[in-house]
């Protein structure tokens, strides 16, 4: 008999999701999030619906998705939608989740754009829009400060932050050369020390040894079964 269920704890391999979610339900939940998440805080809405209400993934998996979504280019909300959608239902799940979260806002902004074209020049409309624009700047400034307070822990971070702001924000250098130069420098400044690397490699070696042992056991059981 082969014990197929015998599982070894594999570091870094996330278990497959237990829930089976229909594509239509996936779409409708993301559509709902896309239609109700006013004010830019889409992430909070995603967490509330996916983790708390639906229980499609646990807090840790959500935070892991958020971590990737923040590091990889693209909007954090659509990135998280892709990761969660693909985790639940593969490529189609990702497509469905992203379209759901984008569509309502895209249609809303499109209609607002038509109204804007129609009423632009009216002093009352212009004044209202000017107020909204100023408030929007206040909002993204607050978000930037909050993320900064959370993420900036070492003074060296400002050696990267200040020149990036000066080059992109003030002198308008294209993002491509700025990223090509600063990403490697920033990663290098934060490179792991010898100790961390050694611990990691030791853990990896241990894991591979365990895996090899596991394969051997399975093979032994197989041959024992054949002889019987």
């Amino acid at each position: 008999m082969v014990q197929a269920e015998e599982s070894i704890a594999i570091p870094g391999r996330q278990t497959a999701p237990q829930v089976r979610v229909g594509l239509a339900e996936l779409f409708s939940v993301f559509l709902y999030i896309g239609a109700t998440s006013f004010g830019g805080g889409v992430i909070a809405y995603l967490r509330e619906h996916l983790v708390e209400r639906k229980g499609w993934l646990d807090e840790d998996h959500f935070l892991a998705a958020l971590e990737i979504g923040e590091t990889v280019p693209g909007l954090i909300s659509t990135n998280v939608a892709v990761i969660v959608g693909s985790r639940l239902r593969g490529v189609r799940g990702a497509l469905v989740a992203v379209s759901g979260v984008i569509l309502p806002g895209a249609i809303a902004v499109f209609l607002l754009g038509l109204l804007y074209a129609r009423f632009k020049g009216d002093p009352e409309v212009d004044a209202t829009l000017a107020g909204i624009g100023a408030a929007a700047v206040g909002l993204i400034f607050a978000v930037t400060l909050q993320i900064g307070r959370r993420e900036l822990k070492r003074w060296q971070d400002f050696l990267i932050l200040v020149p990036v702001f000066a080059l992109v924000g003030v002198i308008h250098i294209s993002l491509v050369p700025v990223l090509v130069v600063f990403v490697p420098i920033a990663v290098q400044l934060n490179r792991p020390n010898q100790e961390e690397l050694a611990t990691y490699h030791a853990r990896q070696a241990e894991y591979h040894a365990q895996l090899a042992q596991h394969h051997e056991n399975v093979a032994a059981q197989h041959s024992a079964g054949d002889k019987a």
Partner: protein
């Protein structure tokens, strides 16, 4: 046709450059659409950005308006696809590889290293929009003092209180309607 290709090129590049979210590419988006291609004026760009903040969902859906203004409905749809598809494909691929590097000290290094770049770019985005919407040299001092007050108040309130930002955006509109009509 040439315009459509231009739109797709500009927004597809912005898509994969959006390190840390949409705010990070605002300066370059403004530069490309206002200065390089003259698709919109700086004022229109700031207005369109405001409309985006008024609508639900991801805060960069407003790119559709730029597409529509340049090339009609086809432009709106193409710009949305160009702006979302590349980064979504990228994150799809990376999320598969990411788990593989769980616990790797290098993955942490990338994450820690990206943080100051992201925040520097976000500040650039705030500055790019702020120069038009908050402190605009073309506007009167009275107009500027009101918009600066709105921006700073919204920032302070959000840093101190848990409140839905959409309400503050609407409040900003109300204050603008009341105080900026005659300025």
């Amino acid at each position: 046709m040439k315009t459509l290709v231009g739109l797709v090129n500009v927004f597809a590049l912005l898509s994969i450059l959006a390190v840390g979210g949409g705010t990070a590419v605002l300066p370059q988006m403004k530069h490309e659409t206002v200065v390089m291609h003259h698709w919109v004026t700086a004022d229109q760009f700031a207005d369109i950005y405001s409309l985006g903040q008024l609508s639900p969902g991801p805060n960069m859906n407003m790119v559709a308006i730029i597409g529509y203004k340049v090339a009609g409905p086809a432009g709106a749809i193409l710009v949305l696809i160009a702006f979302y598809l590349p980064s979504c494909t990228l994150v799809f691929a990376v999320s598969k590889a990411w788990e593989h590097f769980e616990g790797s000290p290098w993955r942490d290094a990338v994450q820690r290293g990206m943080a100051p770049i992201t925040i520097g770019l976000m500040l650039s985005g705030v500055y790019a929009i702020g120069r038009t919407a908050t402190f605009n040299l073309d506007h009167s001092m009275r107009h500027n003092s009101i918009t600066v007050a709105i921006s700073l108040l919204v920032t302070l309130i959000l840093l101190r209180r848990h409140i839905n930002p959409a309400l503050l955006i609407l409040a900003g509109g109300a204050v603008g309607w009341f105080a900026l009509r005659m300025v």
